[in-house]
Each structure stands twice: as C-alpha cells, then as structure tokens.
C-alpha cells in the first residue's frame, strides 16, 4: 500500500475541489439563469473533457504548460517554476479535466429553481446575495454536494491526464491510480489489489451519497 501516493491523491482532490467549487457555482448558475448567443458553444467546451481521451487532453495541457507557451510562461514569471511534472501542474490539469463534473450538476440544480422565485424574493425586499443564500442555496444544495463529491472522487481516480502532465514522481505527482498501474507492472498484485479495493470503496460511497442526495432533491418538490 503506497500511503504517500494515497495522501498525494487526497491533496490533489482537495485542491482541485476547493478551486472548482466557486467556479462551478458561478459558471453553473450563470449558464442556468442566462440566455445568450454562444451559450451552446460554452457548454460544449465545458463538456469536452467528458468525451476527449485523457491522453489527448493531457497532451495539449503538456504543450501549453511548457515555458514556451503563454500559460507556462506566466506561471514561470509568477513562481519561478515550471508547471510540467509538478504538483501545481497536475492540480491545474485536474481543474480543467473536472470542469464538467463541477459545473454541470450545479447548472442542472439552478435550472430547477423557477425564475419567479428569485423575483418574488426581490419583491420581498431580499438583496440578490440574500436571495442566493436564503432561497437558491437551500433549493440547490443537493446539486452543490453532488458537484463537490463527483469532483473529489473523480480526481482521486484520475490517471491519464495526471500521467501525461505529471509523470510519476514519488511524493510530487505519483497519485494512487498511477501507483496501482505501477504496482501491476511490477507484479505486486497484493499492493495493487489493496489500493484498488480502497478506491472502489471510496468511489462507491461517494456515488451512493450523490444518488441519495439526488433523490432527496427530487422530494423537495420545487413548484
């Protein structure tokens, strides 16, 4: 059992989720409440990581993270370090890869809130911020938790993109999914089995939680 890889995966998932949750809420709510030209294009862009092979996404990220490219140059100017084969690099790659998991459940949840409810809240004297906290969040929280859990679990199990961008550096970029692959290659079935079982249990619990919340969300019964 590679506890270093497991701890690294948890850290990666924690950072990715922390960065993506506010982005998911802002972008998901915006997409749910605004109609404009080019909306479909933005939604398609967000959904792209769902269908794109992780190696393809990883390849493009690897290229754009290099110090010859603007993103890599900017990071280098800010921190003095490169993005490829670093923990920061795999966090950024995970953020991009998990965009649909963080945004789509939030967007679906906000879409179920009738526009009249917001207007009723404004006419009742509630500011937009209080409307968000007192009316919208209580109605969409199952969607927010879903986005949170899905992003977290999906990051823990991530393989292709992390391997492409981060390689497999012990304690820096070697996550538990890569460690499993590594152990199988080394015919260490016992360690690979233990880590796989751990991922299976964590994933199952998370997905159970998401489905449980989805059922609860349905029973709230938004008119």
């Amino acid at each position: 059992m590679d506890w270093t890889a497991f701890r690294l995966s948890l850290e990666l998932a924690g950072w990715t989720t922390a960065i993506l949750l506010p982005i998911g809420i802002i972008v998901g709510r915006w997409l749910a409440t605004h109609r404009f030209r080019g909306r479909g294009f933005i939604e398609a862009f967000i959904a792209l990581p769902l269908v794109l092979p992780p190696t393809v996404l990883g390849y493009y990220l690897l290229v754009s993270f290099s110090t010859d490219m603007p993103v890599g140059q900017l990071w280098h100017a800010l921190t003095g370090e490169g993005l490829n084969f670093s923990f920061a690099g795999i966090v950024l790659a995970s953020v991009v890869f998990n965009l649909p998991f963080a945004i789509q459940p939030v967007q679906r949840a906000f879409e179920t809130v009738p526009g009249h409810l917001r207007e009723a809240a404004w006419c009742s004297g509630l500011s937009p911020w209080r409307t968000f906290l007192r009316v919208e969040v209580p109605l969409v929280w199952p969607g927010l938790i879903s986005a949170f859990v899905l992003t977290f679990v999906h990051t823990i199990g991530e393989f292709g993109v992390v391997l492409m961008v981060g390689g497999a550096i012990d304690g820096e970029t070697k996550t538990v999914a890569i460690a499993i692959y590594d152990r199988v290659q080394a015919f260490d079935d016992e360690a690979a089995g233990a880590m796989s079982l751990l991922l299976l249990v964590v994933s199952f619990m998370a997905i159970g939680l998401v489905y449980g919340l989805a059922g609860r969300g349905r029973s709230v019964g938004v008119r």
């Binding site: 009738p114 009249h116 409810l117 207007e119 009723a120 809240a121 404004w122 006419c123 009742s124 004297g125 509630l126 500011s127 007192r134 009316v135 209580p138 109605l139 709230v220 019964g221 938004v222 008119r223």
Partner: protein, 371 residues
Amino acid sequence: MSASLTVQLRARAPIPLQTSFQVAPREVLALVGPSGSGKTTVLRAIAGLHRQARGLVRCGNLTWLDSSRRIHMPPQQRRVGMVFQDYALFPHLTALDNLLLAMESGPIQGRRERAHQLLARVRLDGLEQRFPRELSGGQQQRVAVARALARDPNVLLLDEPFSAVDMMTRERLQRELALLRQQIEIPMILVTHDLQEATALGDRICVLHEGTSLQTETPERLFRHPSTPHVARLLGRHNVFTGTIIRRPEGERLAWGELELELGRPSGMPQGARVHWYVPDSDILLHRRGRPSRGERENPVHGTVTECVVLGAQTSVTLHCHATTANIRLSVSTHAARRNGLEPGAEARVSLLSSGIHVMTPLSEADTARD
C-alpha cells in the same frame, strides 16, 4: 397615509408599451386585455422587474422610475407587494417562514406576531407550519397574498391571482379578496383576462391591447360607453354599427340604413359626420307579441331571427334588420324567447333605447373605404 400610484410607461422592444394610468389609495384598477396584451409586463415594470420600460412610476412623493432623470430603483427599494400568477412561494419554507423572510429586520417576536396576524387575516391560522406543497391551490394563493402584504407595501400588484384554481375556489377567493380589500389602504392593481372578475373586483378597468392602454373607466361606464369599436370588440361587445349624424328640426338623429334613430344625448359630431355607434344588450328591448308595452315607439327595428343560441337561462338572439341589412344581437331570458316564439326564421321587433345609443368615433378614411 397612503399615496396614489402614477404610471406612465413606454417601450419599443422587446414588448411595446404605451400605457398611462393613476390608481388612488384603496382603489382596485383591473388591467384587462387578451393574452399577450402586455398586462403582466406593465405589472413587472411597476415592480421593477422589467428593466426595458421607460417613463415614470411614482408612488406619492417616491419616484421609483423616471427615465428622464435616470432613476430606476431596483425591486427591493420599491415596497411593492406582488402576487405572482403561480404564487412563487418559497418551497423550502413553511407558510410562516415565507412571510417572515419578506419582513424587514426588527425584533423577531414582533415579526412573528405580525406574520401570525396576517395569516389569520387570510384565514390560514393553524396552517402556519405547513409547507407550500402541503397546502391546496387556494391556500397557497392566500399565503402569497399574505406574503405580499408582509412587507407593508405601498402598492399591491396581483398577476392573474385566480387563474390557477378551480371555478369553486376562484369564486370563494374573489369574495375573500373583496372583503380583504376593505382593510387595505393602498392602491391595488389586478391583472386578469376575465372581464367578469375585472367587473366584480375592479373600481375601474383599464383596457390594454399590444401594450397600449386604450381606455380606463368604471366598469359601468366602460361597458356602456366604449371609446372605440376596437375597445368594444376587446370587451366582447356586439352591436357596433356605422351611421350618419343628421340634424332635423325636432333634434339630432342618427341615420342607420333606412332608419333614423333618436339619440338620448347630443353626439357632439357635426352634421353629416359618419360615425361608429354602439348599443349595449341591456338597451335593446324585445317587443312582446300582441302585447304593446312602454317604449315600443322608441327607435323600433323590425327583423328576422337568424340565430337562437340557448345558454342556460339566457338565450342569445341574432336579428337581421330589414331596413339596414345589419345584424343586432340581444340577450333575452330563455323563457321570454320561448314565449315570444323566437326561432330562426321568425319575425321580431325590438326597440333601441335612445339613452343607450352611444356615438363613438368618426369613421377613419380606411373605414370609409371599406364601407
């Protein structure tokens, strides 16, 4: 002390508006018009929810909208009580909490007491802890009314508040609103497409079409004196005809085909003017067979019944007038229709009471060309 509401709205797009009216404290103005006539948009513009509207919305000395001075208050600052068509109750809050959320800060005990009082006023005491999904349509509507009042608004706006309930509940709720309004001292605007409802609840009715307010009057005056043939049509009135004003030594007359009709009051139109005119159902008197009665000499019209539609206790009769080739429609009790042998093909006589004849507008060039 409550203040009256002044509304002057205009907009070109996305929904054209050209509307102006005033509503006094304690007064109910019913906004009526067909679907898509801009009723709800006017209400939303008053509440500050429709931002494209230009013009003026003023409540007493508070200016909520004045586009010439670039004033556009957000809904939160307008103190408007709004009852939405689908009620828009917060589904995660109980009836009581729906009201508490709409109340401004202050001691919680005081707010609770007032929320309980308001719910009692709409006869919902005992149901304070129910969630909206646990209430019937009528009860939800009453929570929505109580919530709209919870903010102590300067204006109460009701957007088709009875459209989502069944007929029986509707009648009961209309009665309750009529009782409740006696205790409310602010201007109220009721949006409805139901003329009966507008007549029952509105002190005045404003007829809207394609965002333009065509006429604002008391129901009685509006139904007797629609300002144009268009308004008459929107109100579902029949018996709009064209005629010519002529002067005779004995007074002003309205030439209608071969007939010359007496007028109850001066039309204000010049000699020879071609005009639209209207006579309400209630001012068409059916002559009883073989039993002459008072008023039979007043503007008698002879014709053949072309259609007889029994609508319960009333029968709608269409009469083709021989002297004018026009069709008059009148409503008589089904009993009277039978007794007088009214059926398609039968001959009948009616009188158009001169006091009911309402001369509307002169014919436009387009009308004359059609004529």
